[in-house]
Symmetry: C2
Subunit: 287 residues, 2 copies
């Protein structure tokens, strides 16, 4: 497999044949039960990215349910996942004509080999291709400078910590106006904006949108909080199959209170469609 | 407390002794399983209100889990509930020191007496009283006129359909600037704002906030859509125990596309705290 990554001369990876597809691939053990080896390629410091994990669970449900696209998927993060063996157990709650609902759980193993639940998911799936074309969106795409005015980990030792493996898998170009934290001058506004893609050039699909909503640095950094911000719960609505090309992701926090905050993400595609909306509740752990 | 409510001479109901408390009360059948007779008092036309149903499920989980307050609760609505007998089955997913996670399902019965699942819930609970007092919210309370400049069902045959039983249980005063739909002149903006309380004067608590986020007319009305807007999924974050007094509820829709829309609700208490945030995915059924 001739690895592409950010090398401009490498061939572009395609949907179905890319790092993301290989690292979310599941092996069917028995009906509704899937094995996977969680890749170390999607870690931030030592934690496995929550969006990558959601994509793994989302892919299992796409297989287990009669519909293939996550319309709304909620994940509660119970314990921290580690790279290595895991099992996904799915359960069909209801199948309907246009929507079906199911649950999925990701388990890993303790030293005695007992299963420990990492994440519990509840989701309703449908067929994005069957939806009518009407769009009456009043939301506007985020104001974000052209990509060559934005900054990624390859643009210097700052602003993004290069020690995280996930940085090599993503094409992430941050809006400089939300990068004050990296220079020691957080804006105080809970906003983060970026161009987003996969480093090997694979275009976006509904499953990779589950990764896109949780791939930017925490908005808490721009509020001046530098600790860990673990996700308690993340819900994503996938509203449209994304057009090819880079995505724009905007994340906003308005309510930091009582040691918790929400992060609202919007993902816009190259055709100016709002393709995903998400909200997470995260905990602030002061560093 | 000889305070007002809608009937000035009636004594105010209190938390624990009110219509809402009686109609969400569950009878323990066995560990984790609860019976309830769903009240016809919370119906809109013939449908049982989704927020009332979420409060029933939320109350069951508050009993079943070691923590009593819903921090984040996600409900997927599977089939339409009717007034009458129902059973709630809960399952504890994980109990931690500060958060515990569980699932709950509401079932009713078909003509053969078989259980039909109505709603599936996944939630993480904690103790709101244990949270620190820090608030760094940039969100602003909604701009809504004083209550005596707003309109409820008692102010005339329009604007709110008085045939819905729930109208008698709520103190709902709608901002006239989001009432154009009732006069045949929807603004085209997906916004709805109201003062909210319980008609018998019971103050708000975390469980009644689950009702508050889903009690206003659909934002779709102001976009000019008059059909039914059934909820597919509703997630609520309860962020603070509400202060006594009426609540302000603001609901916004920005993305109506492909026959689906999101409704984002904010609930503010009398102390200007953002006490709840919710988002739902709803389906547009053109009337």
């Amino acid at each position: 497999m001739p690895e592409a990554a950010s090398a401009p001369t490498a061939p572009r990876a395609t949907i179905g044949d890319s790092e993301f597809d290989r690292d979310t691939a599941l092996t069917l053990r028995e009906a509704g039960v899937y094995d996977i080896d969680l890749s170390a390629g999607w870690t931030i410091i030592s934690a496995v990215n929550g969006g990558y994990l959601l994509a793994v669970l989302g892919r299992a449900l796409a297989d287990a349910l009669p519909h293939g696209d996550p319309f709304t998927i909620s994940a509660h993060y119970l314990t921290a996942s580690q790279p290595g063996p895991a099992v996904v157990r799915t359960d069909v709650v209801r199948t309907g004509r246009t929507l079906s609902t199911g649950t999925a759980s990701l388990f890993q193993y303790d030293e005695q080999g007992r299963e420990i639940e990492r994440i519990r998911v509840l989701a309703s799936y449908g067929d994005l291709g069957s939806l009518p074309d009407d769009v009456r969106t009043t939301a506007e795409p985020p104001a974000i400078p052209p990509m060559d005015h934005c900054f990624g980990p390859e643009d210097g030792p700052a602003p993004v910590d290069g020690s995280s493996a996930i940085a090599d898998r993503l094409m992430l170009k941050l809006d400089p106006s939300t990068l004050g934290w990296a220079l020691g001058q957080p804006s105080g506004k809970g906003e983060m904006r970026a161009w987003f893609g996969l480093a090997d050039g694979r275009d976006a699909d509904p499953l990779s949108l589950l990764l896109a909503v949780d791939a930017l640095p925490p908005t808490a950094f721009e509020i001046g909080i530098s600790g860990w911000v673990p996700t308690v719960e993340l819900t994503v609505h996938i509203r449209c199959r994304p057009a090819p090309g880079p995505l724009r992701v905007s994340i906003t926090t308005r309510n930091l209170a009582g040691g918790f905050l929400e992060e609202d993400a919007e993902v816009w595609d190259s055709a100016d469609r709002l393709v995903a909306q998400s909200r997470q509740l995260a905990r602030v752990r002061l560093g």
